[in-house]
Assembly symmetry: C3
Homo-oligomer: 335 residues x 3
């Protein structure tokens, strides 16, 4: 699947044209995304936070699964790139009138949309769209089923690089419900591609993936063992519906065993980073004093989320334009 993911996401000359998953992107491309995002960090600090890279472009946020938070970050990123943004809550729209997903997308494309940001409950939906429905519209995956959430993974990589400079030699623990997490899947791939020393998965056996060794990760069921000496601790969100499914004992039981407390954090390296994708459940996944403590970089992750989304949006738009013969010479230049 790596090969086809590469050819699907990249132009013949190796530029990004869709951003669907970390699979298929090599270390050089991930580094290029991080470097581009770095250049946008500065934009967020300016009083005028606009760059004209997507001026006159139409970005459609197509959220088949509701997520105000993620949608807002893409909306802000697109507006800071000067794009026109259309938010569609697809659950209440045309698809309910008997129209197929493909027809909905072809209609939006016919309105001269340039980019679709897609969140979908079904794994692989963004790939299917990029391959078979609207290959000439830049597709950004904003989370598909249990499969991938690549912008979340890349904002985490940006945060790690800001604090640790390099990935070589790092040991990173991912803690929580790995089994159902599209975020974890993307993180593991990104960490390995960028060359960390070791990825550890810490979870009860019921919440581990089936063949972790294929993913390039070691598994631990005891928090104390998993965190020992790590440089980065990435907590996952606990999905409450899993507990009702009897895969987990109870919130308090989970917190006792896998919640990140000050005490458990002492097993990690003294300068270990504490990360969490948010929104955080204080006292369920993480102790308040840890979330607000000196090792926490959680709010930095949020800031980096805007920069990463600006990076992949501008790079994919640029790659799409490079692909279109007819528009040669007037393409957007991403740095």
């Amino acid at each position: 699947m790596g090969e086809s993911n590469a050819s699907l996401q990249l132009t013949p000359d190796g530029n990004l044209r869709h951003f669907l998953s970390i699979d298929g992107l090599d270390r050089a491309m991930l580094t290029r995304i991080l470097d581009t995002a770095d250049s946008f960090i500065e934009v967020g600090e300016r009083s005028i936070k606009k760059v004209p890279l997507l001026r006159g472009r139409t970005v459609v946020n197509l959220f088949f699964e509701p997520s105000t938070r993620t949608r807002s970050t893409f909306e802000l990123a697109a507006k800071r790139l000067s794009a026109d943004v259309l938010n569609l809550d697809i659950g209440t729209s045309a698809t309910s009138k008997g129209e197929t997903l493909s027809d909905t997308l072809l209609n939006l494309r016919a309105m001269a949309s340039d980019m679709f940001v897609i969140r979908h409950a079904q794994s692989g939906a963004p790939h299917f769209i990029a391959r078979s429905v609207t290959p000439d519209v830049a597709i950004i995956n904003a989370g598909d089923g249990r499969h991938a959430h690549p912008t979340q993974a890349m904002l985490d990589m940006l945060t790690i690089r800001q604090h640790k400079q390099t990935f070589a030699g790092l040991r990173v623990a991912i803690v929580g419900d790995i089994q159902h997490s599209r975020v974890a899947r993307s993180q593991i791939r990104a960490l390995n591609t960028l060359g960390v020393d070791e990825v550890r998965l810490v979870a009860p056996y019921t919440l581990l993936p089936n063949r972790p060794e294929v993913l390039g990760a070691r598994v631990f069921s005891r928090m104390e063992d998993g965190l020992k000496g790590v440089d980065v601790v990435i907590m996952l969100r606990l999905q409450r519906e899993r507990m009702e499914g009897a895969l987990l004992p109870s919130e308090s039981e989970f917190y006792r065993m896998y919640g990140l407390t000050e005490e458990k954090l002492r097993h990690a390296a003294p300068d270990a980073l504490v990360m969490h994708p948010g929104p955080i459940n204080r006292g369920v996944e993480i102790e308040s004093s840890v979330a607000d403590g000196p090792q926490s970089v959680i709010l930095g992750q949020v800031t980096n989320g805007i920069a990463i989304r600006m990076a992949v949006m501008s790079m994919a738009m640029s790659g799409q334009l490079g692909d279109r013969q007819s528009e040669q010479g007037e393409g957007v230049q991403a740095s």
Copy 2:
């Protein structure tokens, strides 16, 4: 009604100031709208799809009936004209606090709104507003009751002209639930005004209008007869609630008799256009291979929908400004 529709929609010197219905607009005005839309087609193909015609203007989308699709096309059209857009879902807003429709509109006008795009379940609501409530705000009818949907009709005219160059000599069949269709009513009027040779209505007797001859159309109850030799086939959407009202036998029965299949299409001219306002119900109103076939111009209609909306919005804004003495000399110029 034609006369009053003319004086209501046009300035004393014959420019558009509201766009409420095809009634009252002559062939020269419809042609001007099509020509203006043609100039915007090119805008949709540019990398920077913005023109500054409505810059600093405030367009309010007032949808008393929900329609994500139509609202999105007006929103995109307004943004490409550089307007500020406010979307109001009126069902959940002030009118539920006991405020009258007139007061809601006068309040929005007092906020210095320049244009209202109105969809309303009641026939004539946009006319009432343009005549009696806010005559100095440009009113665009986005569909009122069973009465009119003039931008849909005009995008259809634009599509026909693109492929057939002229309307003279054309025979056009409109197929489906004519009786309840505001789209059909506007199409029949536009086709006759633009000078086609013949408009045919194809439907079961229960779904035909009462006096089709007044509309300037011939009726057919057999699809094979109605399509014979026509140059354009316009399918309508089947409203499922009509079937529950016993006006129609069943979806499969309707498809058998009036669904546009490859076989039935062979009765039309070999180069007949296939049109549909969308969203399409494949296998209910139209066979998939016809919707996707070489004669289908359905996606072209969508593209033209943006251009037509840009055209009537910029023309009505320009006409309104011409009307206002106080703002003489700084009016927007529509091409």
Copy 3:
């Protein structure tokens, strides 16, 4: 509370940095807000209604209580200042996933938001946020509990000044459910700060505040006495849920006693202004002929609402920037 409200809302050199309540702002500051708003009135009359004061700034409308009308006025005001606007209906968002209010706000701040416009059912929520959560984001109070609605009060002051030139010597009656009205609380404070001669509260005893003399107002339970000779009559909205709570007899009974009819209005000065925050309930709080009559300035209040919001948004943004050392020299200049 006045003192702390002053230091919370103002920079050390006396500029606005949040706009939370009239409390703590002196006559000079209220006058500065009115003067700034006056300069924006002219903007609403231009064909291009944009000024670049908030260009590249991100304004987040955080409505914990729904209010389409108030949200729309802030959205329009922000767009006319050229800001990027994000509308968040917080009821359906992250807070429902177990995230605290503080965490939601810190996350939005981390996305480089510059201003929060906050409506909240709890009195004091905007103050709490400005003091303890995100002091470096400009906070605008769009109505909190029964406490304050300061932009509504200031748009009323602007309307009075437009028609009466000065506040000295004016007698102003506020009529209706004073007890539960955040608007009335802000109006009383603003009127007294700006130096009117007398503020009168007209209501049944059940709807009067507990200690009106502390607020600086005289109370009247008979409409005829309360209106005698006043220069301004400000009607309040009747909250229907109060009637169910048995604090009021019935709509018709209320209208008979406190509805503003032509007959009752004759007790006021002949050139008395008639004001109402909208949406109006004709025949419940006010007679139609009075709402539409020559003394009514209700629609002028709406127009002024946009100007006042533009004024406090641009002034608070400017004050915030003055506070930030790092951005010295590139701050927005409000007139």
